[in-house]
């Protein structure tokens, strides 16, 4: 979806997101978080998967309609200094695309999805990466299996790759596997994560995740919308 802002806006950073209106009335009530997928002076662009009521509303928005949105929000990716690795799971590519666009031919892309239909924008991504590895759960395109398997193989066979930072966005199981990989190889990984959000601006404390800290209990709750959505994967704690 392409949106032309009616007021002047701040240029979004890679990995930042917007909260978009999800209905005309009060059901669904809350705005929906979507990562900035692409932007230029005139348009903001979002790539999303129709999941439920909110995204289905957004999918019906027509040219000429006005929708309300808030953003850019959150802390995006710490920008890479040299080459880097991207690991995208399904619609996670939406959040990572700005990195590929901004740092053309600097990224080694690992892109996994359930099937070829969910492997969105793979051609565009392919063109902008140094090298691309693709997998699907059903084998309909690329390797049949998990993208993290391809990543593991790649790291094993390319020793220099351990120096590269990983940028990733995907599902929790993917993050968990990635975490064990980076811990094994002592790598760095920036992960953009998702949580249910109400405000998107840090006010409601609804979107928190457990982050390692010196506080009592060994963790503190950090807001995905404010301190995130990008965190150092090492610091994330899932129960």
């Amino acid at each position: 979806m392409k949106i032309r802002p009616l007021a002047e806006t701040i240029e979004p950073q890679c990995g930042q997101f917007y909260m978009l209106q999800s209905c005309d009335n009060y059901d669904p009530l809350l705005k929906r978080p979507l990562s900035i997928f692409n932007f230029d002076e005139k348009y903001l662009q979002f790539l999303f998967r129709i999941k439920g009521k909110g995204t289905s509303y957004l999918s019906k928005v027509k040219a000429g309609d006005i929708i309300h949105l808030i953003g850019p929000l959150g802390n995006g990716y710490l920008e890479p200094k040299g080459d880097f690795i991207i690991v995208a799971g399904g619609i996670g590519i939406a959040s990572l695309m700005p990195l590929l666009v901004k740092f053309r031919k600097k990224a080694i892309l690992f892109f996994g999805a359930r099937n070829s239909n969910e492997l969105l924008m793979v051609d565009a991504a392919y063109d902008m990466a140094i090298n691309s590895y693709v997998s699907t759960d059903d084998g309909s395109i690329g390797y049949k299996g998990l993208i993290t398997d391809l990543l593991t193989d790649f790291i094993k066979s390319n020793h220099y790759s351990k120096e590269l930072p990983i940028y990733c966005c995907g599902s929790i199981p993917m993050f968990k596997t990635l975490k064990s990989i980076i811990e094994r190889h002592n790598m760095t990984c920036y992960a953009s994560i998702e949580e249910y959000m109400a405000c998107g601006v840090g006010a409601c404390l609804g979107c928190v995740v457990k982050i390692k800290s010196d506080e009592e209990g060994g963790f503190s709750y950090k807001r995905v919308c404010k301190e995130g959505p990008v965190f150092n994967l090492r610091d994330l704690i899932w129960q």
């Binding site: 249910y196 959000m197 109400a198 998107g200 601006v201 006010a203 609804g206 928190v208 404010k226």
Partner: protein
């Protein structure tokens, strides 16, 4: 002609809550506006009638595990678990920012025990820049088997009376809607010396994941807010306005100035905007502007003419 021209003057929106003068009757609802900073890039804090900050306790609280929020038809459930940075850190790190503005700061606070309520109130009323206190009594009483302070007239009387004694600041008590007779609770609060009553806090609800057969909130139950509860909130404000003389701050599902006006008409002297901030960061300002415009159109010169003007 002179007479006619007065109609184009700005209507009066200022109201008094106890000894507190508000330039307009629109505040933020506790827990939905953080400590003010979060929304300061979206709106001019100086335009607000008052700013009510997220509930504070003596000790910082981590809050509940996640998920903490879930949407419901025209509403949302939250079980944040009163996560907060603690009164001390608030005074040190957040209050200086809020002191910059002309808008009065009302601090919402709570405790697990009567002692914690007292300590909180004492500490807060010594802090420069805190203009009023809002007591959240919708929390469990650790000493009495975790039953809710604000749903039992006796514990309510007890906790309000003791807090009243330790503070000279305007004391607002925020009522829980999860009671049989909200008017009775309001009278108890008035008798115990409170300067004002705010209501409603969220209504307890729950949602279930039918496949996992697990509550959708980690805390099992949460508090329902948003437009879904507005008719209930309006009714409760009306009942309270018939029961007590002290000013009422009405809230619960206010999304627009029209909703706010319902609360004024049934007797609220001020309103607070909660969940609406999440959907529209400028909701408070839009409500203020909307009320002013409505009053101009309807040729009403003073908001006090609307307050409690229900015709039945």
């Amino acid at each position: 002609m002179a007479m006619n021209s007065t109609l184009f003057e700005k209507p009066n929106l200022s109201v008094r809550i106890g000894s507190l003068n508000l330039k307009n009757p629109v505040m933020t609802a506790s827990g939905t506006f953080g400590y003010g900073e979060e929304y300061s890039e979206f709106l001019d804090i100086d335009r607000l009638g008052a700013i009510v900050v997220k509930g504070l306790s003596i000790k910082p609280k981590k809050g509940n595990p996640t998920p903490r929020i879930i949407e419901t038809p025209a509403g949302m459930l939250n079980a944040i678990g009163l996560q907060n940075i603690g009164i001390e850190t608030f005074i040190k790190d957040k209050l200086p920012f809020l002191r910059q503005f002309s808008t009065p700061v009302i601090v919402n606070f709570f405790g697990d025990t009567i002692d914690e309520y007292i300590k909180s109130a004492e500490t807060l009323c010594d802090a420069k820049g805190v203009q009023a206190l809002e007591m959240n009594v919708s929390c469990p009483n650790k000493e009495a088997g975790w039953c809710i302070f604000g749903t039992n007239p006796e514990t309510l009387r007890q906790v309000v009376s003791v807090v009243r004694k330790v503070t000279h600041l305007p004391l607002i008590v925020k009522l829980s809607p999860n009671v049989t007779d909200i008017g009775l609770m309001a009278r108890v609060v008035e008798d115990s010396g409170a300067d004002a009553i705010s209501l409603i806090n969220t209504i307890t609800g729950m949602c279930v994941d039918i496949v996992q057969r697990k509550p959708l909130l980690a805390n099992i139950t949460g508090g329902l807010s948003g437009p879904a509860i507005r008719p209930i909130a309006v009714r409760m404000v009306w009942e309270v306005s018939k029961a007590v003389k002290i000013p009422i701050i009405g809230m619960g599902g206010i999304m627009t100035y029209k909703d706010a006006l319902e609360f004024f008409i049934v007797g609220a002297k001020a309103v607070a905007i909660g969940t609406a901030n999440f959907i529209n960061p400028c909701a408070t300002i839009d409500v203020i502007d909307g009320i002013e415009k409505f009053m101009l159109e309807q040729k009403i010169t003073d908001i006090n003419q609307i307050i409690g003007s229900l015709r039945i």
